[in-house]
Subunit: 291 residues, 2 copies
Amino acid sequence: MVNKIAFVGIGRMGANMARRLKDCGYSVAVVQDSREDAAREVAEELGASVATDLSSVTAAADIIFTVVTDDEAMRAIFAQDALLQHAAGKIFINCATVSPAVHEEIDAACREAGAHALEACMASSITQARDGTLYLMIGGEEEIFKQVEPLLLDLSASLRYIGPTGKAAQVKALVNMVMNINTAALAEGLGLAQALGLDLEMLCEVFSQTGANSRVLETDAADMRDRDHDCFFSAAHAAKDSGIANALAEQASVKVPLSQATEAQYRKLIELKRGELDKSAVAELTFPGRL
Amino acid sequence: MVNKIAFVGIGRMGANMARRLKDCGYSVAVVQDSREDAAREVAEELGASVATDLSSVTAAADIIFTVVTDDEAMRAIFAQDALLQHAAGKIFINCATVSPAVHEEIDAACREAGAHALEACMASSITQARDGTLYLMIGGEEEIFKQVEPLLLDLSASLRYIGPTGKAAQVKALVNMVMNINTAALAEGLGLAQALGLDLEMLCEVFSQTGANSRVLETDAADMRDRDHDCFFSAAHAAKDSGIANALAEQASVKVPLSQATEAQYRKLIELKRGELDKSAVAELTFPGRL
């Protein structure tokens, strides 16, 4: 049987994953998005149809990728009149970074409908989606994971089964929590260096060779210096993800003052109407004379 | 002329630098430390004499390395009755991580005494001191730097002239500021992961392959997990260095909420009488059921 694939939430990530799957010979049958224009454009490009309501997405596909923005959007697409109508036997692969508890809720709802849910947490960005080189962490039933493993391998450079539902989202929340702190930390270091009149290129080279080195130094330092905040991972997403981690910490009675300070910085960017800039824009708050 | 070398403040760093220089054929003539026992032990090992007062250190050497703990100690050794008596022509190489302004003060005092001061800021630890593979950043007059460059090359794997007095200390403060934040961030991530029952080894592997990667992940993660806090760089030093950076930020009106939260974590360790543990001990504050 050739699987028919659907995408719900066809933003830049979803569209690039769909393009990649089409290149690999899969049939992307149907796409849906709350912004119908965007869905129509991608559908046309891929030769897919546009679903106007969610229940028809499920009817038209065997495997449904969901790539929505947040907890609320996830709950909405899995509400009673939505994706889970006549969903028996269907597999939902949920790619949004949402709270682990939401993955558990949706897993329970899928079981009740005779369907299966997997978390597919992505620690990478749109370029990797297009190239099929995502870093994917999967949570859910291992047997269901095995069924879709070949498909997921076509999307990823690294594919890792983490454990039961909720665990992949926990790992993802921790990755983004630490990444966001390191990003805000770099913004403080470079902003202060700029205020002191130091040569930022020299400083970044020193950082790279010492205990201050980090992945975000490679990915974000030049963008911070040059104010190039074209969005790969938005400040709004960073605020949301740090918020998920901070809520987990509160539930677990773990104190995370740095992660809270980081969430506050990203929330400040949202307040200043800069939430749609890349997370590197946190440097706008620390470089002298910017915001 | 064969230079005679002195060391003031012969802790583990200073002692290892002295050992390395002796291996390279230099004459370490005299050592001094406020803890006379420690000075005597190292002097015996190196065949050096112990100076009981600071003015006799200057008399007995051409090049004097100072490796003391903080601003106060630096000011004390360069006070009127101390190192700067009959110091004309002598070169002081100051290795402590102190406030940039203190380097400037001491530079001025040295000029007045006809002596020369260089900052030699080290972004590395005792192992590198012993092996002559320090990461050294030099501030001060470039001409004086050139005079001692061969000596400094014997101590370092990377030697970099940063600029006028104070600039190397600024760079060092920024390196340690960002390193300390990243360390405290990692402690939050791993502590929360432990609380959630995640496999820390798996998590660290994921961190290493994603945006959460950092140098401190390599150096501190296992120590945090295993509570192995043998001191390479103490929590008390981390508090001091973050404090130097935060003071620079305040003077420059740069907001650094993460660095402030980091300093507060390290100060808490000092309050809890854990200041002499390694900086990885910040995880004692975030792992469930520890402090």
